[in-house]
């Protein structure tokens, strides 16, 4: 009796398939384990914080004092510009020109407060630049106002100091490096889209810095101060990078 020659079943491949399944499961389990996110542990927070300080230094090194942030055409300007703050637009400060006084403190020679009219009377610089938010959205807008650097020179600020800090009417605060404060595109924006800066965008002025991320552009500024002691800031104290350059 002749029987057809039967090839031996490929046992090996079956085993391999089973092995493959089992090992896939182990890899899956490993992936699930990473769900125990270590981000909130003290030691990890310290390392992340140290890396962020390192990034401050790296960004200060990368910063080009005279290089301009990209500028755009009038036709690129967004008309429905986004309101953005840590509270709804209805709660935004409504400051009146009659009551407003910009206070100056720290390493500044002439600390006399400034009225809205005085600020608006300074020579203005206009720019169409991209506002980049740390969250990832960006919008092109048109701002105009006096250069912060010129203002600091005028009031006799110590330009060799390290930091310029801001306090705002809504409890927000922030600070920047002196090099960025003196950058030609860093302005005290009193105008938005050729109109007086609206209340929801920071009337009477917002510090517009196209070389920095949105959270480094404080609105409703009521105090400007110059210091050598790191002042931190609202979001910076909550774990965001201090330099925040773009």
């Amino acid at each position: 009796m002749t029987r057809p020659i039967v090839e031996p079943t490929p046992l090996v491949s079956q085993i391999e398939r089973r092995l493959f399944l089992r090992q896939t499961l182990s890899v899956g389990a490993l992936a699930l384990l990473t769900g125990c996110d270590i981000s909130d542990q003290d030691g990890v927070q310290k390392v992340l914080h140290a890396m962020s300080r390192w990034n401050d230094r790296a960004q200060a090194f990368l910063f080009r004092r005279q290089a301009l942030a990209p500028t755009f055409a009038e036709s690129d300007v967004v008309h429905n510009f986004r309101y953005n703050a840590f509270y709804p637009a209805a709660d935004a400060p409504q400051l009146s020109a009659a009551d407003f006084r910009l206070q100056l403190s720290g390493l500044i020679a002439d600390k006399r407060p400034w009225t809205v009219e005085q600020i608006q009377a300074l020579p203005q610089e206009s720019q169409i630049t991209r506002h980049v938010c740390v969250e990832g959205w960006s919008m092109i807008g048109k701002w105009a106002g006096p250069r912060l650097g010129e203002f600091l020179r005028r009031v006799g600020a110590d330009l060799t100091a390290k930091y310029v800090g801001f306090q705002c009417a809504d409890g927000y605060s922030g600070s920047i490096d002196m090099a960025s404060a003196l950058h030609p595109q860093t302005i005290m924006a009193v105008k938005f889209a050729d109109e007086t800066l609206p209340a929801k965008f920071g009337y009477p002025f917002k510090v517009r810095i196209p070389t920095k991320l949105g959270y480094k552009n404080p609105k409703w500024v009521t105090t400007i101060f110059v210091t050598n002691r790191m002042p931190g800031g609202f979001w910076e104290d909550r774990g965001y990078n201090w330099f925040g350059g773009s």
Partner: protein, 232 residues
């Protein structure tokens, strides 16, 4: 094969990966995982793509939302950004070292070249039918193409990432990527390609576990043949 199975001396181990390469491989693996996990959370805050898609939060890196809110009064983005811009340095420095050593040591030339189009097509056809031999120490044409590809994609993802990080200071680079908004899209698809590579890479490791042993210990006990690269 004429090896005597009763021979008292076991076949020699095969040295596949020197220590430096293994270290760089695992540092790269860790950095890439941190970059992807934190990048997914950053993406979720403002998606680069105009479609309704987000990554499940449990797959992202940046800590527990409730805990972050309680500890830092912040809704969970700051940690992800800190991870991303911290691991960025590890990834870039390690990647540069890997590429420099790869070219200088001859590893790329010996193991990733040459790639003939004919060999690639026949290997690809075999691979698609799961008939492709995967032997230790010797790379088939599909693997060679994939390794060059992933090196190129990592470079592209690093450069598009730099242009998102510094659209003002590195504006020339951002311009090359078609502006800030488009650079984000390039960065996203660079990530997607890397994730695609990882799936294939890990699946093949599971199919041929010896490659994992080789990438951990550098050598595989009694591997039956010497790799092409180390026979002069």
């Amino acid at each position: 094969m004429t090896a005597d199975i009763h021979s008292p001396t076991p076949p020699p181990d095969v040295q596949l990966h020197p220590l430096s390469r293994r270290m760089m491989h695992w540092i790269n693996a860790l950095a890439i995982i941190v970059m992807i996990g934190s990048g997914w959370r950053i993406y979720n805050y403002y998606p680069a793509l105009p479609i309704n898609f987000g990554f499940p939060n449990y797959l992202t890196l940046g800590g527990d939302f409730t805990l972050t809110e309680a500890l830092n009064d912040e809704d969970g983005l700051a940690n992800a950004l800190a991870w991303h811009f911290g691991a960025m340095w590890v990834l870039v420095i390690n990647f540069l070292a890997f590429v420099i050593v790869g070219f200088a040591s001859g590893h790329f030339r010996r193991d990733f070249l040459p790639i003939g189009p004919r060999a690639f097509l026949s290997d690809l056809w075999a691979a698609l039918r799961f008939k492709l031999d995967h032997s230790l120490g010797e790379y088939n044409a599909v693997q060679k193409v994939l390794y060059w590809g992933v090196l190129g994609v990592i470079l592209l993802t690093i450069l598009s990432g730099l242009s998102i990080w510094k659209p003002a200071q590195l504006k020339e680079l951002t311009w090359l990527f078609g502006g800030y908004e488009f650079a984000r899209v390039v960065h996203f698809f660079g990530m997607a390609a890397i994730v695609g590579f990882l799936f294939v890479h890990v699946a093949l490791t599971i199919l041929v576990p010896k490659t994992l042993v080789a990438m951990i210990f550098g050598r595989v006990p009694g591997a039956s043949h010497a790799p092409k690269g180390d026979t002069k």
